[in-house]
Subunit: 237 residues, 6 copies
């Protein structure tokens, strides 16, 4: 896992996450104001959009803009990322600002959604710092914890962390877990496509996942401890 | 929970599920052949589509056909129902037939997706029986188990099964669990929007959910033990 | 023809109409305010949306939300229902409220559009009563008459009322007539696809239709004479 | 009413119809083969598409291609024109050819749909002649009659034929009638938006309409009696 | 090249341009106010939409409204026409009015985009005159020059002006040039699909194009020197 | 200008082009077969798709997949890139293979379309080499020349090459030129939005552009002279 901050010049936070051959670019953009249904509440908003470059997959995937509609998988992952990030931020402290996290997959080899969440948190943290420096937060510390995510699979009966695509595609059970640096859970999504799994397998997968997320939380903290590379983004909008 | 079989005349299986004020119509339609990517494999296919009537919700919801696009939530639930049903059926035994399960929510008061899965299994079972009677199965027993689903929430710190909408909307954690009548798991989706939850809360929720699913499996078995109400559907396509 | 009022709990009016095997759910939802082009006029608005469940037809029909566009037939029928209902209501008496009538076909066996209009009127009447009870009408009696509709066909040279689908599909002429309880006409739509018809056939069809609508008006009046089943809807929005 | 044949060079039939200030261009294009659901039947197909130029209306109307969807009114009229033309042609004699009639409104001042039908018949007749000359008909005389259409309105209590837009928009009842040169009816669509009408008004409107259609049938016959202006279209596809 | 002004009754400017067999209808509609992003600037706006009638091409082309999306070529040409017209008008003098130019191709035989620009200028000039007569201009002379356009092609090694479709489709190089009556350039678009071209060929093409545009500028001036045919449009919106 | 080959692992060619702050990822994917209209011709096909990451621009731009349609600018640039590449490749030598070039802008600061063309050529060359190594070319040398592109602007009356965004946005004239390493032209697109330009300015811009393209052709040749970084892509599809 490699985390590169300040990958792009314009967004308030821009992080390239690399995880095996998987590479995801997570950019946090700040916008004054919130969606209409939230205006005047004094609360901020955090949302996310996930997409894959056509060239990121083993076999080229068609552009959703060309197809004219967003697929179910894309919708699902965008919503997951947004929910995960909203679990760690105090919307009143954020004030009426909207942070949009764009997670664009540059290269896919399994685990893109969990890599996206892990990188998105770092981009979010940089965007929050940027807002603080600009004096635009209602309260100085909106982030109550960090969030990171791993995928756990069962292949040939053995529980394994973060499988590359080739193994992932023949996993009997597939689970994505989002957890905080406090060791609490944010999201658990376990699926046995064409198979079912026992309670004890599930327990073992959660054990693996929590250990994996704890390790990622340390890497995130290390990355954020370093000073921001280059000058701070100017407009950041 | 009330299960009414044979609710409509045309589909091979048609089940009205009622669960508190929630009512979902689950219809299983049979079509010869499978999607192109599966043709010639000898395997069947099961898919699902979920939708809500505009008048089913407390406040009228706009029609997705009028908006011209399907929302993320609808996509997500349709995919969940399809995956859940595919876990209990042997595609080789089904042969090159496609079964489409339409889950249309007539009235919503929380738990529509879990009611839909529970009813969809019964409609699927009726459609499989219909196919068998028509001599169109490759193997007589394609269903290896039954599937049912419940939602579990934590409200005011207490774990609770199948909350109505009003309580559901203020749950701190929300989990949907799909399980078989063998007590194994098919899907686990736990979410803490705006909050996180501990490992021990999660364990307790799974306990509740497995007990709930076991009870539903019995109700499904009872419903299916009765003879088919009225004459069997003719065309069923 | 069977009319069940109060079929759903949330809408201000909710009517299930059954007509042979045809079943249509008509729900009237009330919303404060009117579309922008009518704002400030002091006049209300009534509109309708018609749709068929995929499982309602003999052969499953694809969802229009999945296709991403509404077909010509759906558009045509939605507009017909809306126009028909607007003929019997005084928009000034309604005040700046919008009533949307959703007509969703649960099961189709011919005559769904005429059944929809007939049921929609009853749902509209209940919604108007609800508005009156809530003190939100500008004038106590906005409904000037009732409307009902029948289809008339010519099969094998004989004029017939409300054909089931199998006969309807081989009718030489097909006519839908909407009429009031005063015996006046609201809409007449006669079509001879692949054939033409004489003036005298047309006259005979109108005779049949007016008699049919008069009988339906009595059934509507009977249904509305009964007290509202269950408690009145709360929010009704 | 002025009918100009051969208005464009490429289509097999191309007719400009002028009716007061209303001008509609009706072009009949011939294509070998029929839609997939009709292939192999030996039968031909006739279909129509209606549209208005943005600049044709009193106030500019937005392009449906820009809006990305076709409105209900456009759908309705396209379907009406297609049905009307199919009433006068023997599909077996046409053979497996498709004729598409594009009716594009150049200038609108009321009665565009009836002008379109009247012109479309003439374009269709020219396309049929062209197919005959090319030896591509299964049978020499596919047209069994001619069709023409008028609109009838009631304004200030008086029945009137083919109102210009300004009067049409305040008509109490509006009826479109399609009839053949044999005096039989093809379509009757009568509407009383915001009002209802009596049986005797309806009878009187039909009288007016049949007289009007008979006059148009004569004009169509005269126009078609003249030789084709200029050389016959070459490709005509 | 034939220019007919006042072709339609409603728009403020309406010009039919004929060029060989190519015929384009250019209509300029006036609307009070400007798009939101320009409101309050005191500046006007000019925009254009280009489209082809399905029956205008040698082989019928599908309607973009039916396809539900506008193609790349249509977008490109609409943008080109808009940019070209904006080069000759002083937006401050126009004041906060929007002029939309609809260029609809009635018949296509090569050079539709250049014919459209040439006709659109004349329609724009009439619309500006109309605005002046209505006292709605901020300044009496918003047009600083006229614009016209030609296409130049290289066929069999020879440079040629305004090729008909058959020759155009086998041109080795294709260039569209928009120029003013002052001899300055507005747009140059040269393309060698499947081939490349030398600097000297390019220079020669520009020579031809500027001469062609100068001749068109004279024809535009002649056409505009005549009085407006018929009465001035009333509403013109 | 920096050119990095082999940036991604899956596509047959993958090039990151950096030009000032502008960064574009150009990926060439190979697919067996050609579009249906070209099947059986023995000729190959090359096409391109251009898009911008939402986070690539100074102010976040909305995703075209979310908007549900591709904008005019995107269409225009995709078509330009495709045409430019097709000018340098012999389709018969390519054989019935399709090469799709995805140009995704990672960061935008002016000149993204010309950077995309310049990088796309290098990716195309790598894909052609890959096809040759796989023995899938009809003829060993399909590329007849190289292509590169620059933008030229006039700012404050002075001709300038490849302006960054801030200067580009206030250029009086903007020209994009695509040229080969033989010094011939492929595309010339010059625009004077809100202004016009003289023949002599145009000549000067072409001089600058041809010199710039010649320099880029050298850089492309240098980049391609180096051995492919890392192992050759495996599937490359």
């Amino acid at each position: 896992m490699r985390i590169t901050r300040g990958y792009q010049d314009w967004p308030a936070g821009s992080v390239l996450v690399e995880f095996g051959r998987t590479r995801v670019l997570c950019a946090a953009t700040v916008q004054e104001g919130v969606p209409r249904w939230r205006t005047g509440s004094g609360l901020g908003w955090v949302t996310a959009e996930y997409a894959m470059l056509p060239s990121s997959t083993n076999t080229r995937s068609a552009r959703e803009s060309v197809k004219g509609r967003i697929g179910g998988r894309t919708h699902e992952i965008s919503r997951l990322i947004g929910r995960s990030l909203r679990a760690c931020i105090d919307m009143a402290a954020l004030g009426e600002n909207t942070i949009t996290i764009d997670c664009d997959v540059i290269q896919a080899d399994g685990g893109t959604r969990t890599a996206a969440i892990t990188g998105a948190y770092v981009a979010l943290a940089d965007a929050v710092t940027w807002l603080g420096a600009a004096g635009r937060l209602s309260d100085p510390k909106p982030l109550s914890c960090s969030v990171a995510a791993v995928s756990v699979g069962v292949v040939d009966g053995r529980v394994r962390l973060d499988l590359p695509y080739e193994e992932d595609s023949r996993a009997e059970v597939d689970m994505n877990v989002v957890a905080t640096d406090h060791g609490t859970l944010v999201e658990v999504q376990g699926t046995g496509e064409g198979a079912t799994f026992t309670r004890s397998t599930m327990d073992k997968m959660i054990d693996f996942a929590l250990a994996g997320c704890a390790r990622l939380a340390e890497l995130q903290a290390e990355a954020l401890a370093a000073p921001y590379p280059g000058e701070l983004p100017g407009s950041a909008a």
